[in-house]
């Protein structure tokens, strides 16, 4: 488990991150979200031990960070780039070696990852000879080749075409399934919505909201459902669970009372009318993000 406690980082009087606390468990994908300049990169740099926090503590598996932690972190920075003049395989091996891998082990893993990413034939090419997308693949391999327990991905999808984005998504999910801790920092709210189990939204270095994604959505949702039915739906108008209703002949939009769960409500009405369609209208993460950032004090 990764635990960040009361993290504050100041640069020459400017507070980049203030009193941030969160924890991420194994197998979870944690979305670190926020607008540009919110303090995401500073938070990440502090976690990977590149900069020291002004105050606050970071624990990994209940131990403070030490040098041995280096080998357990994989990091994909937002700004990509590798040694342009060097060979693909050499770069991967070097970055694996300074993560503490032995050369034969690194060679085997590199080979199998290059195959999985379908860039095996570029093995001995120079980085600069590769397309941008393929360079990204090489960098992604470098971030995961040493099987890190903690994987930090900053905008992992940028620069990939839809097919490769899909491939990366599946890869991230399977890495989480295998028990890794994944921190995902992105502006793509749809992606975050689909992948993340937990989120932390920050703005100007401060926490705006955090928690399990469904809970966050519930908090910011208005408990709105939409149904399509056949039969007499007039009884819906008088139910105590209903706060507000727009009822048409076979279609209704219903706002439930705050303490009512949509599935309980569904169970109640199913015996009475024939439900053809039921959906909970949740605010998208994108909407939550925009609303919250606009609301947050300057």
């Amino acid at each position: 488990m990764l635990k960040v406690e009361n993290l504050t980082k100041e640069f020459k009087g400017v507070t980049a991150v203030k009193d941030l606390s969160f924890s991420v468990e194994q197998g979870k994908i944690f979305g670190l979200l926020g607008p540009n300049g919110a303090g995401k990169t500073t938070t990440i740099r502090t976690i990977i031990n590149v900069i020291k926090p002004t105050t606050g503590k970071i624990y990994f598996d209940d131990k403070p960070l030490t040098e041995s932690f280096f080998n357990q972190v994989g990091y994909l920075p937002e700004e990509r780039g590798l040694y342009k003049k060097s060979k693909v395989v050499d770069v991967i091996l070097y970055l694996a070696e300074i993560k503490g891998m032995t050369i034969p082990d690194a060679k085997n893993k590199a080979q199998s990852w290059l195959r999985k990413f379908e860039i095996e034939h570029y093995r001995n090419k120079k980085i600069e000879e590769l397309s941008k997308g393929n360079q990204q693949k090489v960098q992604f391999i470098s971030a995961i080749i040493h099987e890190p327990k903690l994987l930090i991905l900053d905008e992992p999808f940028s620069g990939f075409d839809p097919i490769n984005q899909q491939f990366i998504k599946e890869l991230i999910l399977s890495l989480a399934k295998s028990g890794k801790i994944i921190i995902l920092s992105t502006h793509q709210m749809e992606t975050a919505e689909r992948l993340c189990t937990d989120i932390l939204l920050i703005n100007k270095g401060l926490e705006i909201c955090s928690g399990l994604l469904p809970n966050v959505k519930k908090t910011f949702g208005s408990n709105l459902i939409k149904i399509e039915y056949s039969g007499d739906g007039s009884f819906l108008n008088s139910l105590p669970e209903v706060k507000h209703i727009d009822n048409y002949s076979n279609y209704a939009e219903i706002q439930l009372e705050d303490n009512i769960y949509p599935h309980d409500f569904l169970r109640k009405i199913v015996p009475v009318i024939d439900i053809k369609y039921f959906s909970v209208i949740e605010p998208s993460l994108n909407k939550i993000f925009i609303d919250l950032i606009k609301q947050s004090p300057n």
């Binding site: 280096f70 300074i98 470098s142």
Partner: protein, 413 residues
Amino acid sequence: MNKIFAVAKWEYLEKVKTKTFIISLILTPAIIIGFALAPTFLSGQSENSTKAIGIIDTSGLFINGVKDGLETYRIKNNQPTYLLINLTSRTQDQNELKSSADSAVISGQLDGYLLINYGGTDSVSVEYLSKNIGNYKDINNFDNTFNKVQLEIKLNEENINPKIAKYLSEKTEIKPKIIDGKGKESKPDFLTVFFTSFIFIILLMMMILSSGGMLIRNLVEEKSNRLIEILVSSCSPNQLLTGKVLGLSSLGLTQVIIWGVIGFALAGTSTIPGNAFNNIIPILIYFVLGFVFYTAIFVGIGSIVTTEQEAQQITSYLSLTLVLPIAISVPAIEHPDSLFVHILSYIPFTIPSIMILRFNIETIPFSEILVTLIIMIVSIYLAIVGSSKIFRIGILSYGKRPSIKELINWIRE
């Protein structure tokens, strides 16, 4: 420790394969040897073959003496340096002789000819005519020989005892020599000082500049594409710095070894004087210390640079401290005991080159060697400590270059 080696290995292997390195490896000694030998080659080239020299002496007074005298000069394989051809003929006058000799020179049959105009007891002039001004050595030989012959003739005329005559015509040359502590003598000449001192100082300078330049460009690349963040999240800044210095030093060492092999192969041949390697061990020690010192400084300074332009700027500032010793080397050779040279012998930036220079022009007291070595080692230690502190912060700061005040704060932190 493994990570340090991984970094060092990477830095070494990636750079040793670059075209820049291979070119500088071959080009640097080629340029240096070229510069060193150009004058020697130009003046010494013709010494490989006997020169055909005509001689016109209508008086007949000097011709035999000059001929005998000049034919004693020898080139390498004991061949005579000059082949004297008598162009004097009783049937032709001097103008006719001259014009036929001129055409022989122009057609290349003769390298040149000596024209002796004797107009009575005290009026004699000698000209050497050839297609170009002529080798200063040849002129010198002609000069010496003719004057000797002239003196002998005069002394003969005056009935001076031949023994005294011979004695008078002998010249004694003064040969400069230096004695080292063990009482060994050696003969310094320009080539020796050049090959032992200048060449090492120039090599040191070129090596520091080329590898320092590589290092800074490399750091700029790592910073601009954020690779540095991956590196620093994989190993500590100190491991990274040590690895880089180690890798570059091995690179430098590779260069020195290859250049050394070239040097030894040429040593003792006419190209490099045999005694050029007399002081090689102390010179190499100062050389290596100087290289490590400057590399450590380059790492620190390189880490605060963010663009290629800045990198070039800083490299040129640093190179000034390297050029200084070369600029003052001539006065230093002339006055090795001056206060100025002594002061420079205690400043870490100039210790290596000044000491390399001084080793070949004088005998340095052991105490001074010890003190300078201690200064160098302490300076290297301080440079590494200071650089690593600047490095730790510098590699992660982008944008504006820090001020001197900020740098001092970083070192104090």
